[in-house]
Amino acid sequence: MRLKRQTNSKKGIAVFFVLFTLIILGILVVQFHVSSRNAQSAVHRFQTSEMARQIAAAAQEEAFKYLYDKTDNPNSKSYDDLDGSSILRKIIDRTSIYAPDFKRTSSNCIKIDIPATVKMAENIMGDRMDITAEARIVDFRNCNYQGNVFYKNEGIGTIEIVTTAKAKEKYKKNFPGACTIVRHHDYKVVSLLSKKERDENYAGNRVLDYALFIRQGQNEFLGNSSDLGFSLNPDKKVQLEINAGSGSTLGKVHFGTDHDHYTFLNLSDKTKDFIPNGNKVIDLLEAEDQDVDKFLPSFRAGIIASYTGLYLGDDCTVTSVNSITGHKALFKHQKLPITDEHINTDTLKNERNTSSKNAVEKQHLFVTNNNYNYFDGIKINPKERLDEILDSDIRKQFFNYGYFLVDLSKCVINVTVKKDMPWPLDDIIESKDLYVIKESPQTVKDTLKTPVICYNYNYSAIFNSNEYKTNIKPKINYEELYNFIKTHDDNQTPSIASRAFTFINNEYSYQLKDEPPIISQDDFHNREYIGNSRPYEAQYPFAHFNLFNKRYVNDVNKLEELQELGILEKNKLKLRGIIHCSSDVVLGENGDITVEGSGVLIARNINIKGAIKKANKDSVVVLFARNGNVIINTSKTIEAALISMKGPDGSGLNMGSDGRIVVNDKLDLKGSLAVDYLNIKQWKETDSHKITYDEALAPTRDVYQVNIANWVTFERVIENE
C-alpha cells in the first residue's frame, strides 16, 4: 500500500502571524508617533504664538501710551509742524487717518514707535521679529445725542490700534507663531481755547476770552431803580484792577445784559479820554469845487459880491470876478462821549430836541453819584486800548459832530482889475488871479483861514457857535450835502455816514464800537436748551457733558476719589480735559498747589486756600464752580481761570444764575474771572484786588485737548501662521 504523503498546509504560518501582528503594531506605533510629533509641533506653535501674543499685547500698551503722551499737551508746538507729521494734529483734524470703513492701508494710519517692545522681543529671541503698531480713527461723532453740533473739531470718536508680531521671513519656518491684536479705544476732543476772532460757532470756552466776564452784569448793577443802577464801587472802598495784557489780543471785559437793555459806560470829563479816538476828528470825505457850489449855492455869489468893486490898493479896483477854482470841501466827523457833566449840567438842558434829551437821561448808567464812577470801582489797563477791552454790551452814548469845511487855501479867484491911470493915459484893464490866502486883502485873509468856513451841521452848532469864523455865511443846501455823503461814502463804514446822517433825525448812536457786538449771544456755545433760549442762559461755558473726560467724581464731600484716580496727588493737581466733581473741592489746604496738564476742574464749590501755580506757563487751567461759588481764602497768586456760574440741572433745562465769587482775602488772580454776579459788595475791603489776564488764554489757534480712554471697547486677537 502506497502511503500518500500528506503535505502540511500550516507550514510557515507562524511567520505570517508574526508579520501580520508586527504590521498592525507598526501601524499603531507610527500613528502614535505621528500624533506625538503633531502634539509637539502644536506645542511649538502654541509656544511661539504665545510669545507673539505677549509681544503684541505689550506693543498695544506701548502704542496706547505713545498716543496718550503725544496728545497730552494741547499746546504742543509740534502741532504746527509744517510737514503735517504732528500726531496731535492728525488726531484732532482727522486728516488722512480717518477710516470709517475700517479699511487698513499703510497710508491711512499713524505709525507708532514701540522701542521698548522691540527691545523686549530682542531679549527673548534676538532680532527675528517684525513688530509693528499703527493707529487710525474709525469713527467720529461731531454732535451730541440731541443732534446739537459741537464746535469745529470737538467730538467723540473711536481710535483703533493695531499691533502685529510675526517672525521675519527667513525665521518663519522655525518660528511659525504670529499674532495681531486690534483694540478700539473711545476718545474725546474738547476745545479748551478758541481762536479769538468772530465766529458763528463759538466754543464753550468763550468766557476765557475775558479778563472779567459778568453774565448778569446789568441785573447786578441795575438795582431796584427802574432808571438808574448801582455803582460798581460800593459804599465801602473796594477797588479791582484789571490788567488786560499787552499782546495783540487782550483779555476783554463783559457786562452781560438782557434783551433790549444795555449797559452804559459812565465817564466824566476827566475820564472821557478813556474812549480811544472818542474825541478825535477824522476825515470822512472830500468834494471838489463844483460839488461845493452845490452844497453852497450862494457861496459863489457871495465871493463875487465881496470882490466886485473891491479896492486892491495902488489905484486898482476889481471890476468883476471871472472864475473861482481850486476850492475844496472837507467832511470831517467827531464823536464825543457823553459825560456825567453833560447830563448834570446845562448842556443837555439846552438841548432843543426833547426826545433826544430824554433818551440820554433815561439810560441805565452804572453811576448816579458823581463821587463814584466806573473807573473808581474797576481800573482797566491799558486804558488807551479800552475799546479793545470793553466788549459788546458795554455801550456809550456819543454826541456826533459832523464838520463841513471849505478849504480855500488853493482857491484862485480870477478877476478883472481896473487900474486908474492919470490923464491922458487910458485906464489899464487886465485879468488877474488872486490867490485867496496870499494875495487877498487882509479882511478876507482873516476869514479865509483854513478852514475858511466851518459849519457844524448838528447840535454842536449850538454849543460851539463861535466856530462860525467867516463873515461869508452862505446857506447850506442840506439836501445836496446829505446826498453827497450817501453817494460817496464808500469807505465801508456805513455807520459813520449814517451817524453823520442821523443828525437830520436828531438821533444819537450808542455803541462804543462801530461794528455789531462781537458776541452773538444766541450762538454763545452753540447749544440751545429746550424751550429756553434766552441769551444769558445760553452763555454757559463747557456745557457739553458728552465731552467731559470724567463725570461725577467725588460723589461725597471727600477728595479720596480724586486722589485715587491720580487727579489730585498731595499738592499736585493733574488735569486733562474736563473733570466734573459732584461735590465741593478744597484746594491748597495743605500747601500750595501745582497744576500739571491742561483742563477744567468742575465742582460745586471751589474753595481756594493756597496758591495755585501752573507747572507749564502755556497750559490752560480752569477751576469752575458749576453749582456754587468760587471762594477765595488766600492772598497768594492764583494762576487759573476762575468761573462761577450756575449750571443746568439734570434735565438741562433749569439754569441757575447766581454763581458768585466770594473774596475773603486779597485777590491776586493771574488768569481770568467769569461769574454770574461779581458780588463786589461782599469782597474784602481793600484797594488791591487784582486780575491779570493770562495771555496763555489768548492763543493764535484753537486749542483742543484729546482724551483717549484707557478702556478697551473692542478687542480682536488674530493668531496666524
Binding site: A14, V29, Y68, N549, L565, N710
Partner: protein
C-alpha cells in the same frame, strides 16, 4: 500509528522570534520616543500656562502697583514671589488652583522697571523641580516668557 503532521520547525520559530524581537524592540523604542515627546509637549504647554499666568495678573494690577511691588517685594500678592524660584504647590483650599502636575515646576518672576519709559519688564521663568515627574519628561531646562507692563491712566 505514526502522526504524520509535522510541527513548526525549530528554525522557523527561531526566525520568527528573532524577527519579532527586532521589530518589537524598534516599536518599543519608537513608542518610548513618542511618549516622551507627548509628555514633553504636555509639560511645555503647562509650563507656558504657568509662565503666562503671572504676566496677566500683573498686567491687571497695573503699572503703578507693579512698580510698588518691584520696590517692595512684600507687597506682592500671595502665590507669587519676586526674584526667587518658588515651588508651585497644589492645594485644593487655595483660591487659585493649579493642575496636580503643576507641582512639578518652580517659577521665578523678575521685574525690571524702566522709569524713563514708564514701563516695567516682567520676566517669568518656569523650570522643573528636582526629582519631579517633569524633570524626567520635560526636555528643556526652563521656559522664559517676557512682557512689558506700560503705564496707563486710571480713568
Amino acid at each position: 500509528m505514526i502522526n504524520k503532521r509535522k510541527a513548526f520547525t525549530l528554525m522557523e520559530i527561531i526566525i520568527a522570534m528573532a524577527l519579532m524581537m527586532v521589530v518589537i524592540l524598534s516599536i518599543f523604542m519608537l513608542n518610548q520616543t513618542s511618549n516622551r515627546s507627548s509628555m514633553d509637549a504636555y509639560f511645555e504647554t503647562l509650563c507656558f500656562s504657568l509662565a503666562r499666568e503671572p504676566i496677566e495678573v500683573f498686567r491687571g494690577l497695573g503699572y503703578e502697583t507693579v512698580l510698588a511691588i518691584s520696590k517692595n517685594h512684600k507687597l506682592c500678592p500671595a502665590p507669587y514671589k519676586i526674584g526667587e524660584f518658588t515651588n508651585i504647590t497644589f492645594d485644593p483650599k487655595l483660591a487659585l488652583q493649579y493642575p496636580a502636575d503643576a507641582e512639578s515646576f518652580q517659577r521665578r518672576i523678575d521685574l525690571t522697571p524702566n522709569s524713563s519709559g514708564k514701563y516695567i519688564n516682567i520676566k517669568v521663568t518656569v523650570a522643573p523641580r528636582n526629582m519631579s515627574k517633569a524633570e524626567v519628561w520635560f526636555r528643556k531646562e526652563s521656559i522664559i516668557l517676557e512682557s512689558n507692563i506700560v503705564w496707563k491712566p486710571k480713568w
